[in-house]
Structures are given as C-alpha cells and as structure tokens.
C-alpha cells in the first residue's frame, strides 16, 4: 500500500511535468497544442539516440534533447499557429494543424530504422527501448518494505523545483508579467509595447522544452522509449490533468497531476486494476460537468 503511495506520487510528477507545458500554451493562447505529446516523445527519443547511437555522454544528450524540443516549439508556432492567427482562424483549426505535426513527428521516429532517411534521428523503428544499464546510474534503496529507485525519486524534486522556478518566473519577473499580460489581454499588452508574437513564441519554446524534459525523465525512469509514449501514454491523461487543475493554471496542472496519479492508484488498489484504466476519463468528465473551470481556473463569461 505505502509502496503504492510512492508510485502514485511518482506518476503524479510525470503527469504534472507533462501537463504544465500543455496548460501554459492553453493559458496564453487558448489553444490545445496536440503536438505537445509528440515533442515529449521526441525529447526522449533524441536523447536516447544521442547516447546510444552517437555516443554522447548522457548530460550532453539531455541538453541537446531539451534544446531540440525547445526548437520544436518554434516549429509549432511558425508552421501550425502563426499562419492561422494571421488568417484569424478559430482555435479548432490549430487543433488540426498541431495534430498534423504530431503525425509527422511520430511517423518520422516510427520509420527511423538503420536503412531509412531518419536513421540519424532514430534507428529502432516502432520498437520500445531503454537506456542501456550504466548510462544513467540508478541505485535502488530498500527502506522497510519501501523500494525507492533513484531515477524515479529524482523526478519528484526536479518537478517541484521546476514548478517553483516557473511559478517564480511567471509571478515575479518582467517576462512572467509579460506572458500573463498577453494571456489576459493581448490588446492591452500590445499598447504597453509588448511584442505579442514574440511572447507567444517564447511560450511555445518554454512549453516544449518542459515537454521534452518530461519525456526524457519518463524514458529514463520507466525504461520505455518508443514513438508512441507521448500519444498513447500521456497525451489524453495530460488533458485530464489540465482540466482537473483548471485550463491554463500552472499550479492547477501540478496539483491536478498529483491528484490524477493518486486517484488512479487508489482505484487500482480498491476497485481493481481493470477499472483504473477508465478512471482518469471518468474524473475528467465529472470535473467538467460539475466544475468546468477546474480546481484553480477562472470562469469565462461573455459580455452582451
């Protein structure tokens, strides 16, 4: 049981880390960036192949992986979002264009085999791989009947730290104020001399970098890196998390992440494993019905 609590907290951290990038973009652009899961996966995949296929030390690989993810943020903005903003297309259009990009990224990795044009990116095709033992030190501690793996335990402080940093930046720095200004009232922001387009690019860079980092941690801690980890394992749960926490709220995303983690594990323990699959979504559904603005969100009302 207590082991399960540890598990819950750990999963919660992964969810939180993934969802924060997700919710950041929504909070500022009112757009669901469905390419976020693909970036999550790309970060992990790239780091892996840098270590295993290009013989880079893990630290270097991580930095490059995160950098690449951040760059994908720019790609999302310039390819999928900005053209649509220019045409004043509704957010649903952005939904589709980001889905399209996700499709491309996943396909590129999935078809990355030693004989393909993507071999420089990835060679294991649709296979699932893990970092070879030793590339990332992972001592395991047994305390009482508790088992703690370094790679998993590490995620929790990293998550918390990142959230604190992000929270600090958003609240107390000029950039943070700028981002919040763009989120609340782009027009006012423009009048105050903010370059809204640049702020949006920045948002996507930050969000994607976080997504990539989350992917790397996922890959390291779970020993599972495949083209589908983003799409299959975290994307829709990420949605659940940001809705639980309140769309656009960063603390909401963190709390929501841990909440979902705990709820899932508790249902597994009490109601049995079969039910736990659907529980995230039942929670999602109920939350939207009972409290659409989520735990920390603010309700939107239209002026007549």
């Amino acid at each position: 049981m207590d082991q399960q609590i540890v598990n819950a907290i750990f999963i919660g951290s992964i969810y939180a880390l993934f969802a924060v990038g997700y919710t950041l973009v929504f909070g500022i652009l009112d757009i669901l960036n469905l390419a976020h899961s693909a970036v999550f996966m790309l970060g992990a995949a790239l780091t892996y192949s840098l270590v295993v296929n290009h013989g880079q030390p893990f630290a270097v690989a991580c930095i490059l992986g995160i950098a690449a993810s951040a760059f994908m943020g720019l790609v999302i903005e310039y390819v999928c979002l900005r053209p649509l903003r220019r045409r004043q297309a509704p957010p649903i259009a952005a939904l589709i264009s980001t889905i399209g990009l996700a499709l491309v990224i996943v396909a590129a990795i999935e078809q990355g085999t030693s004989s393909s044009i993507f071999s420089w990116l990835w060679v294991d095709g649709a296979n699932s791989v893990a970092f070879p033992a030793g590339t990332v030190p992972n001592p395991i501690w047994h305390i009482g009947d508790l088992t703690l793996e370094a790679s998993k335990v590490a995620i929790i402080p990293i998550t918390i730290a990142l959230m604190l940093v992000l929270g600090y930046v958003m609240r107390y720095t000029q950039v943070g104020r700028g981002l919040r200004a763009v989120a609340e009232n782009p027009r006012a922001a423009r009048l105050m001399g903010l370059d809204v387009d640049r702020m949006i690019s920045l948002t996507l860079v930050i969000s994607s970098a976080l997504g990539g980092l989350a992917g790397i941690m996922f890959g390291v801690a779970l020993g599972d890196i495949s083209p589908y980890i983003g799409r299959d394992n975290v994307e829709v749960r990420g949605l659940a998390v940001i809705v639980l926490g309140g769309m656009g709220s960063i603390p909401g995303a963190v709390i929501g992440g841990y909440l979902l983690g705990v709820v899932e594990v508790l249902t597994l323990v009490t109601l049995g494993s079969g039910a736990s699959g659907g529980v995230a979504f039942a929670a999602l559904f109920l939350m939207l019905v009972l409290r659409p603005q989520g735990l920390f969100g603010t309700r939107l009302r239209e002026r007549i």
Binding site: N7, I11, D124, A126, S128, A130, S226
Partner: protein, 406 residues
Amino acid sequence: MKRMRFVCWVAATLVIAACGSSGNTGGGNSANAYAGKTIKFGAILSITGAGGVYGPQSRDGAMLAVKQINASGGINGAMIDLEVQDDASLAATSAQKAQTLIQSSLDLALLGPTLSNSAVAVHPLAESLKTPILAVSTTGIHIVPDCNWTAANPTTTPCKYVFRDSLGEQTAIPDNIKSYAADAHPSTGVLLVAQDDKFSSDGGKIVQDTVGQYNIQLLKTIPFSKAAADLTPYVTEAVQLHPDVIFITSLGGIPAKIMTGARNLGFQGQFLGGNGFNTATVSKQAGAAGKGARSASAWYIGNTFASNQDFVTAYKSEYSKDPDQFAAQGYAGIKILADAAKRANLTFTDLAGDRDKLRAAMETVNIQTPLGPFQFTSTHDVKQTVWIIEMDGAGGFKLDHQIQPS
C-alpha cells in the same frame, strides 16, 4: 442478410469470371506450362503503426526467399512476384488491401496479416473468396482452425483456405508452462495481461486455462491498459503477492518494463511469457532484469537445422543484421507456397481453379524450413519443433529445451 449474401456471391462470381477471361491464355496443364510465367503472391503486413515492430522482418524474410527462388530458376521456370501491402496495423485497412490483392491484383495466394486483430478481419474474407492465405506471424486464438463465423451455433468448422506457419499461443504457452513446471514445480503464479489488444487477451486466457493442469495456483489476474503511463502500480500489486511465477502476456515494450519494475521491487521469482518475449529488442530492453525469463518460440537463431544455418547466413549477408523469428516465418512462408505451387500443376488460365489446386497442395507440404521439417496439421496449423528459450540478460537468448512435434 440473405440478400446481402446473394449480392456478395454475385460480386464474387462476376470477378472470378472476369479473372478467368483476363488470365493468361497460353499453355496446357503440364509442368512446362510454368516456363516464362509469373506466379503472383501478395502479402499484407504491418510496415507502419504498432505492428511495425514485426512486419518489416516478415517482409525481409519473405523477400529473401523470393530472391533465392527466382535466382535458382523460379518454380519450374515461373518467376515469383511478391507484392507487399502495408496495412498500417489497422484491421479495416488490412481487409481492404486483402480484397484488392485477391480481386484486383489477382494474386494466387496471400501471406499475412501481421497482427491477430487484422487476421480476424482478413482470413474470413480470403476464406469466402476461396483464396489460400498463410499467416506468418499471428499467434492468437481463432486464427485457425476455426472458420465458423456464423455466431448462431458455437461449433467450430476447420478453415479450407487459411493456413498458419507461426506458432500459436495455444501451443507455445502451454508447452512453456509445462516444461517450466517440470523443471521447477512452481506452486503459485500471478498473471499480468494487457487487456486492450486481442493478442494479449488471448494469451491471458490461455494461461488461465493451462495453469491448473500443472497445479499452479493463479493467485490473481491483473489486467492493465497498454495506455497506462506507468505499470509500476500493477507490478507492485503482483509482487506483493510473492508468487513463484509472474506470467506476462503482452506486446512491444511492456514485458521488459514489467520485468524491470518487478526486479527493482525485489521480485526473485520466474517470468514466463509468450511470443511477446521472442524478439531481441525485448531481451535487449529488459537487460539484466530479463535474465532467465522463459518463453516458447517457433524459432531460435542457434537452432541446428541445416536449412536454418543457410537461412541465417543468407539473411545476414543480405541485410547485414541478425534475422528473428518473424523473418524466419516469413521466409518459410514463401518456401511453403513455392513448394505447393510447384506441385500444384497450375493452369495459369483458371485462377479460381489454380487457387484450389494450390490449397490442396499446401495441405501436403513437407519440406525443410528454418523452422525445421515443416508440415501442416489437419487443421492447417503448424506442426514443428518448439524451442523453449530464456533471455540471457544481454539482449540474446539461450536454449533450454527442444520439444518435438507430437
């Protein structure tokens, strides 16, 4: 319903008539009728999508066989033309492509599809279109021998046109459990089964039905969704019951994840699995955690059959990498079809007739393949040596037992 069936028949007969007329008009019915002709085979494989882990290997194996046969003068002088279609791991697409291969490309026989989900959609189609189809990687229940698709009565009727050269979980898992029970006499087990794909659920069902025979008490069955972000909570559930054996029936990266998780949680017992274990990538991903994990395999790279040695060397020189079970089965698949086609004394004018002749010939196949001396059972399933192998903890496998076909 009746009317629909009728329409279907009309459609089918129309097509077959069309084929007859548009077919090749030369030659009588002797072996030399083959000379200069082309024998068209089709393959529906999962090159993209989740099945992309297996499909490409099957394709490479099959292509290698075609190359060898054509290089050595073809089938009585007739060249093989293999058309591979990707089904994107989707059942619907799989069926569509199958129909096209059968009715548009007018292939003599088909290989595939890669995944059990797709097979359930494709095989009945081939059956109803009277076209031989040979499964080269599917291991689920109901692939063969049961071609009774009218749900009204639950009796099973053997397929006429559906064959399989891949080892079914119904054989593999029991063999595996049996041999391990004989070796170690385990008393308790827990089953971890991925509940959201047919292959895994089938495996789970077989484990549940088998363990009793070897007085293994199944403490708990823990179904999980492949979409779960982290399996540790499920594994924890299993490990906390301290079973002697953890049965894992799932695909892709999941078995490795479970084994790693369980070992990290201090599980000392044995892992038993099914086909999901039999790829080098899984062994590699599991690493040390996988050491000793056992499964029954249709093929094993070190197996001593001469035909296998040749295959392995040829495959290595062709693709500069090791073949795996799926490559071997794909390779064997073409060899089987070729052998049957050789003996079927095809006319090349009457496609429907040729397809019947081919399926008849297939039932009497008896050749050497990388899988060993190969024959079909009366229900068109594979009759071959089964290899009980275990992961060596370094990305490879080592042989435990060799079970001769009964």
